[in-house]
């Protein structure tokens, strides 16, 4: 069985890449770029192979590695794929080469350090997705901050210092609380049951007392909700996005934000199911507020990147709604929506970056009629806009449709039982699709249509490198929109398990139906 080794390779390949770049002499920029792309492509290929090899019929971890790390506290180096992270890992690995290739022309300062940081964050993100040990997860979780801090702080725009400090303070604040909660959780369980273990599987189904659960979930939630981000903890995101270089924005929107929702799904809710029941009305309301609030704010922004940044807040609200619905369709939809948003928002940020390289402004009012000036650009931008709106046949539809259907499915019986809040929220969320169309069409309209004008002319249309990047994204978007079934199969068992744990049903030996 070579798969566990390949999984290790997928995880550690960025570190190897980082070392390889570090060994290169200064000034060989082309080589640095080529090597980075090579490593990322290799990683993506291996991840794709693992994705295909992932057996949807087998519950639990696959390709797992488990080595004691700090044995006396029960901390292990525990890595493995399961139904929850399989799509996210595949997406992260898929976006890696695109990020690297997208930065070829944009980054010209400290290239070695830049690609090293991209590798570093890739490593940390994959590690956080793959970790099956709370301590290890925390290490990776925190490690993500460092490269992102540098990427925004060194290669960012004018107000990069403000943005990066805000980003780090926000996230670090959440992380500290989570660390305290992690320590307390393991300590309390060890005091009660005498077993000291950080393994996720040892932490589920442990029936902590409710008041402890409430405090712990509050701490975890704060940390994750900042990452998602949920209103009102979101103000770091637009600043970070606007100041970050394109690669940073793509990583941030594409993968980093999913850390929050992934954290909720993997840790927050399943660890503390009873507390989740208590928090659900609050969190669900916040999710729907995020959908509407993010959309409204996206509507009045003048900076293209800010529009997409606020749209991310709105889209991740759908993910939270799906996760909280505890309906199988909703959960599955949330997983798809995470990947879809990674692809679509990532693609849109890449495109904004391409435009910025040509015109050096992100102010929407400066543009118009790009469909005339940059027809290929306009084509791709339209497709991604429509995917963001959630038009059928794109991945955005698959995610949104399933999330909303799940939310409605779960809310209707509650409504009939006299509890109408979830239904009201679901209906508002459905109306959110109108707002989504409103702000994205405003963007596309202003950018692509009308009289042709741009700050810098003549413009050259997308070159082969840029086209290849976008073709890859668009193909993935349509694949997930037209044929989501194989992806859904891979996640189904894990989604069921999540549903079971969080809704508080007793463990059954056979989790499959």
């Amino acid at each position: 069985m070579a798969e566990p080794l390949i999984l290790q390779l997928v995880l550690w390949l960025p570190v190897l890449g980082m070392l390889a770049i570090a060994c290169l002499p200064q000034g060989r920029d082309g080589l640095v770029r080529g090597l980075s792309l090579g490593f990322m492509l290799g990683q993506a290929a291996l991840a794709a192979w693992l994705y295909l090899a992932f057996d949807p019929a087998q519950p639990g971890l696959q390709f797992a590695t488990d080595v004691p790390w700090i044995a006396e506290w029960g901390i292990h180096y525990r890595i493995g794929m399961d139904g929850i992270n399989v799509l996210l890992v595949a997406m992260t690995a898929f976006l890696g080469p695109l990020v690297v290739a997208g930065a070829f022309s944009a980054i010209n300062k400290d290239i070695k350090l830049f690609y090293a940081m991209v590798f570093f964050i890739q490593f940390a993100m994959l590690g956080a997705f793959l970790a099956q040990d709370l301590f290890l997860f925390y290490v990776f979780w925190e490690a993500m901050l460092i490269p992102m801090f540098l990427i925004i702080g060194i290669w960012g725009g004018e107000r990069r210092i403000y943005a990066t400090v805000k980003f780090v303070l926000y996230t670090a604040f959440g992380s500290i609380l989570m660390l305290a909660a992690v320590i307390y959780l393991v300590y309390a369980l060890q005091q009660r049951d005498g077993i000291s273990s950080f393994a996720f599987t040892d932490l589920y189904d442990r029936n902590l007392p409710l008041d402890a659960q409430l405090w712990l979930l509050a701490a975890f939630s704060l940390s994750f909700a900042i990452k998602v981000p949920m209103v009102p903890l979101h103000t770091w995101l637009p600043d970070a996005h606007v100041e970050a270089p394109t690669a940073g924005s793509v990583i941030l929107a594409g993968v980093l934000l999913k850390m929050g929702t992934y954290g909720f799904m993997k840790l927050g809710f399943p660890l503390f199911p009873e507390a989740t029941q208590v928090f659900t009305p609050l969190l669900m309301s916040l999710a729907v507020i995020s959908i509407v609030y993010g959309a409204c704010l996206a509507l009045v922004q003048d900076d293209i990147k800010k529009i997409i940044a606020y749209s991310s807040i709105s889209h991740l609200g759908y993910v939270m709604l799906g996760l909280l619905s505890l309906d199988l369709i909703g959960i599955q939809g949330a997983l798809i929506q995470m990947v879809s948003h990674g692809l679509v928002a990532g693609g849109l940020f890449l495109m904004v970056g391409m435009l910025y390289e040509r015109c050096h402004t992100r102010e929407l009012a400066q543009y118009g009629g790009l469909a005339r000036l940059l027809p290929v650009f306009a084509l791709f931008f339209t497709v991604l806009t429509l995917a963001s709106i959630g038009l059928p046949t794109t991945s955005g539809f698959t995610g949104e449709f399933m999330v909303l259907l799940g939310a409605f499915n779960a809310a209707w019986p509650l409504h009939e039982a006299g509890q109408s809040l979830p239904l009201v929220l679901a209906v508002i969320a459905v109306s959110g699709v109108v707002l989504g169309a409103l702000y994205m069409l405003r963007l596309a309209q202003q950018l692509l249509f009308g009289a042709a004008r741009a700050p810098h002319q003549p413009l050259r249309d997308l070159d082969l490198r840029e086209r290849s990047i976008l073709v890859a994204i668009v193909v993935a978007v349509f694949a997930l929109g037209l044929f989501p079934d194989s992806a859904l199969r891979k996640t189904e068992l894990a989604a069921r398990e999540y549903q079971r744990v969080v809704s508080g049903a007793p463990a059954t030996p056979e989790s499959a139906p």
Binding site: A371, R372, P392, F408, V430, A437, L441, L488, P513
Partner: protein, 626 residues
């Protein structure tokens, strides 16, 4: 490959080919692919139709293409369903669609985006076929949104003009509002029935034990979707603006096919609406109000396409009246005849605009009948058809609608009939007004324009002739009867049956009255009409302002939303409350640090004193609490 799948896939192939290769391979290629694919689809629809009839006509053709998604026990399948209703719709779409494609080869001949235009048009046909052939509501919804996309692309086809692009956006957004209702209705059905297949939905509602859901609620939610797509009050505002697109697009999408999707949806879910009297009543009322109000607006419009646009809204209202009184077969009948004569009218209008080099204002037309005779003749036939002059197509279908509005056992009432008949009268009036002002009387054109007037090429006039023939004879096709096994007609209320002849006579008289009034007012040019307008100035202002619905929406929805987003959410929420408090905390920390920093004075002695004091204090505390 399976037949239905092929029917749907061919236009998609056309879209891909024309989109990717069209601009490079030239016009002949674009023509062959662009017109060939819908024509081929049409041929195959005919084949499917024959197969359906060979099987007795009641056994639908069913195909499952693939499973879109499986979640737990529920699975969403992409499948097609071909029964008589789908057959009629598909024939109209591919038939009229193909004709309009052919017409477009003439109309769009010199446009720079020729290949792009045909690619979009094929894309539209693809989604429209998906809409009417889909077995499940999900497939229908995919088509539903897809035609919206195609409509957005085609309305904004000449995107350099911001107003045209904005019209596309407005159409999309308004449709989206309806789609939210569609989605909710779909969710509710899925929640209670566990399936979205429309045949099973209908079956579930006709079963002995009714599903545990209010059919009216489902009906109303889905009808909200239909009001968006079919431009019914209050979501009708997008359709007049949609005239910004090329005229063949207005004919195909915004008259003949897409806007009738709402009618199709309600007819398709006949089983639900049979058990939803409240929803049906709402549909009938909305339909008749739309029919009447849109007709009043059409009376004062001066743009040839806007008149036709309001006329379309009004005619769609008629169809919804039929749906509301439980006669979906009649609605579909009118849908077909309307597709014929309205496509003919729009294409005729296109021919006029083409001849006049882009002029659309009927006040600057007149006397065109002799200059472009074929266009005039076909336009006149279609006008008479829509006005309900017997024995043309519109007479039959409209008359049946009026009859059921009066006499249907499920919701018909004299009041409904009165409103609908007034709308019919107005229809005859504004259509003949259009005919007079455009083609008859004396010319009011600029000399420059008049000099260049020319009849359109054969590709256009030929299509007009075919459509005119259909407008004339289409009423003889017994579509309602053909659909009866699927969509039974409602029972007539007791004691009403003997009124039928009277009503027919009245409706013919109304059509003639409309004709006579229009001739009286506009037979001698604009003068009489204008003096009427000044005498009834307030009314005229109300009508030409389209009841100020757009303005009301802007004031009640658009600006408040903008204000809420920019002032409350952004300024107050994000900037002041959230960022403000954070920045406040940061500067408070900085100030506090500045104050506390003074303690560290640099004096060793002072530090020492502090250290001793601290030690003493902690010792004292321990003493106290020890």
């Amino acid at each position: 490959m399976d037949l239905l799948t092929t029917i749907v896939a061919l236009p998609l192939l056309g879209f891909v080919l024309n989109g990717l290769l069209g601009p490079r391979l030239g016009k002949t290629f674009v023509n062959v692919v662009g017109c060939g694919m819908p024509l081929l689809s049409f041929a195959l629809v005919l084949l499917a139709f024959l197969r359906l009839q060979a099987g007795g006509g009641t056994q639908p053709l069913v195909e499952t293409v693939y499973t879109w998604a499986t979640v737990g026990a529920s699975s969403f399948e992409i499948g097609f369903w071909f029964d008589r209703l789908s057959a009629v719709m598909a024939l109209v779409i591919t038939g009229v669609g193909s004709l309009i494609h052919i017409y477009s080869t003439g109309y769009m001949r010199d446009d720079a985006g020729y290949a792009r235009y045909f690619a979009y048009l094929n894309l539209f046909v693809f989604f429209m076929l998906l809409l009417v052939l889909g077995r499940s509501l999900l497939v229908c919804f995919v088509g539903w949104e897809g035609v919206g996309l195609a409509s957005w692309l085609l309305i904004g086809f000449w995107f350099d003009d911001p107003a045209k692009a904005a019209a596309g956006k407005k159409a999309f957004i308004t449709n989206r509002i309806g789609d939210a209702g569609f989605l909710l209705g779909m969710f509710l059905l899925y929640r209670t029935l566990g399936t979205l297949d429309m045949d099973q939905v209908n079956a579930a509602f006709s079963a002995a034990a009714l599903p545990a859901v209010s059919a009216s609620l489902v009906g109303i939610l889905l009808f909200i979707g239909a009001t968006g797509k079919s431009a019914q009050i209050p979501l009708h505002v997008w359709l007049p603006d949609a005239m910004a697109g090329p005229t063949p697009v207005s004919a195909l999408i915004h008259a003949a096919t897409m806007v009738t999707a709402g009618v199709y949806l309600v007819a398709r879910l006949n089983g639900v609406y049979l058990h939803a009297p409240e929803a049906s009543q709402v549909i009938a009322v909305v339909g008749v109000l739309t029919a009447f109000l849109a007709a009043t607006i059409a009376v004062v419009q001066t743009d040839i396409k806007k008149v036709l646009a309001y006329s379309t809204i009004s005619q769609l209202g008629f169809m919804f009246v039929a749906l509301g009184v439980g006669a979906p077969a009649v609605a579909v009948f009118h849908l077909c005849t309307h597709a014929f004569f309205k496509a003919c009218l729009f294409l005729g209008a296109g021919s006029v605009i083409h001849a006049l080099g882009g002029e659309q204002d009927i006040r600057r037309m007149g006397g065109l009948a002799k200059r472009i005779p074929v266009t005039f003749a076909t336009f006149a036939v279609a006008t008479a058809a829509i006005a309900g002059i017997p024995p043309l197509a519109g007479f039959f279908s409209k008359d049946e609608i009026l009859w059921f509005a009066f006499a249907s056992g499920s919701g018909g009432s004299p009041l409904l009939w009165v409103l609908a008949s007034s709308a019919a009268l107005l229809t005859a009036f504004y259509m003949f007004r259009l005919l007079w002002l455009t083609f008859l009387g004396t010319s009011r054109m600029d000399a420059e324009v008049a000099h260049h007037v020319h009849e359109s090429p054969w590709s256009m006039t030929g299509v007009l002739l075919v459509l005119a023939a259909l407008s004339a004879l289409g009423g003889l096709i017994p579509i309602a009867h053909f659909l009866e096994p699927l969509l039974p007609l409602p029972a007539v209320r007791d004691g009403f049956a003997h009124h039928q002849t009277t009503l027919v006579v009245i409706s013919v008289l109304l059509a003639l009255a409309g004709l006579a009034t229009a001739t009286w007012v506009y037979g001698k040019g604009l003068a009489r009409g204008e003096s009427l307008a000044t005498r009834l100035a307030p009314l005229h202002r109300l009508l030409s302002g389209k009841y100020f619905v757009d303005e009301a929406y802007a004031a009640l929805l658009g600006r408040p939303l903008q204000w809420l987003s920019a002032r409350v959410f952004l300024d107050l929420g994000d900037r002041r409350l959230l960022d403000g408090s954070l920045d406040g905390m940061a500067s408070a920390a900085r100030r506090a640090a500045g104050r506390l920093g003074r303690i560290q004075s640099g004096s060793l002695q002072f530090y020492m004193v502090l250290a001793v004091a601290g030690a003493a204090a902690s010792l004292g505390w321990m003493w106290w609490h020890g």
